[in-house]
Amino acid sequence: MSAARVVWSGFMMNLKMVGTSSFFLLTSVVQPVIFATVAFYMFKSGGRSGTLLYAALGAGMMGVWSTTLFGCGGIIQWQRWQGTLELGVGAPPSMALVYFPFTLANAFTGMYALAATLVWGRVFFGVPLHLVHPWLFVLALPATVISLGLMGLLLASSFILYRYANAMSNLLEYPVWVASGLIFSTSLLPGWSRPISWCLPPYWGILAIRHAALGGEVWGPLGMVVVLGIASLVLSVFTFGIFETRARARATLSLT
């Protein structure tokens, strides 16, 4: 079976599965819309109504990250609970290739969040949807989503050995929103946190998307999105191999 077929089949299957999940409906549509509304009112009460598109994009990206995070954190755990993890690990393709389409589908589902917050903002808050560089926006969005999917793959690999992957997912939601500056500038954060931001694909992704929408340099952040996505992929292939071997050696693959 070719790698492309594995990716396509896994992507479509997981897309259908998450499409029927009320949990994903919550993280990819409902939650971003609520956070977008909170941000709209906070920006309005602070007299920064001109930044509503900024808030809509940020809240949408928060949804993309939440969906990716909980989806990727859940991949290993849910498969453990369902007893299908051993089948995925025992399949002839490498473990990274088996789970890459799953994480990609999760991140793709997260795009609903961006669509939801933009439509919500337009309909209820009159957010202008004028994009300064529409074609670059169309390019930056999937690049960011794929990069986040690859980052999710790296996270999923580390959860093979971790019994409480879901708890770690709960923990990592807000910190990445903060460190990536998804809805406020990272200049508000202490200087020591800056290198952490630079290592996160969402940081560069929101910069690329924001600059494409509101004006600014797009190619630099977009390049970083691609570089970090590739780095995540390479690292995850490596970590999947190591963690899978350790889980097999300790017989802890299906720990619950």
């Binding site: 009320s22 949990f23 409906l25 919550l26 409902v30 939650q31 609520i34 956070f35 509304t37 909170v38 941000a39 009112y41 906070m42 920006f43 309005k44 009460s45 602070g46 007299g47 920064r48 019994r163 409480y164 879901n166 708890a167 770690m168 709960n170 923990l171 939601e173 807000y174 910190p175 929103w177 903060v178 809805i183 406020f184 500038s185 508000l188 954060l189």
Partner: protein
Amino acid sequence: MKRWLSIFFVGGVIAYRGLFNWIRPAMYIPTMLGSPLFQLIFFTKLGQYAHAESRDFYIVGNSVQVCAMSSVYGMTMSVANERWFGTLGPLLASPANRSAVFLGRGVPVLLNGLFVSAFTFIIGAVLLGFHPGAGSIPPLALIVVVTTASCTCFGMLLGSIGLRAKDFFFVANLAYFLMLLFCGVNIPLNVLPGWMSAIGRCLPLTHGIAAAREVAAGASLSHVSGLVWTEVGVAAAYALAAYVLFRVLERESRRSAVLDTY
């Protein structure tokens, strides 16, 4: 009365230990302490960026609201997980007083919510420079107790829904996030449209957070007694509604033989 109290306290603790036996430090710390900590930082920084309200506004609002992590999710699970674990049938077949069984589950959840809220206040003081006067701390603590109790009663109502609803986690999650929007946690009620602030006033947290903000700013407890008593009234109303709903759904589930089904 002695038996009622025994079921209320001992039963509540045993039920908590049984239903939450899966909680370990590796699960509790990231979820119940890490997540509120970063929620506090997120909204405080967002407020700073939006130039909306003072830093203390967000610290107090979020430090009180995070009690809902325990009160809403915990209380929902305290009732609905009986069904999930298949123990609802034996529980409801017992002759134990229903109000003691039901309300007793709120005590451990309430204590947990208080701990989470206190932790977040301490983080606000250590990391974000929240320093209320020493005289403000006792009334602030009392208001947090009342508000957490109110939130726990709201969680009881959601838990009762979980007695029949298939996807009670969706409801609990939705309620938690809507509280951030409606209850004046991060947005002053006068900024929200009238219908939203009206809903907010019917929810737990809203009056408690308003009272906590005033007390943290130096007001006396007697000055905010109206807000505190309103929060007590909201708590009583939700507790009553939750108990009535619990009994109605229990009877309906028995009548239609769907007690343990999904």
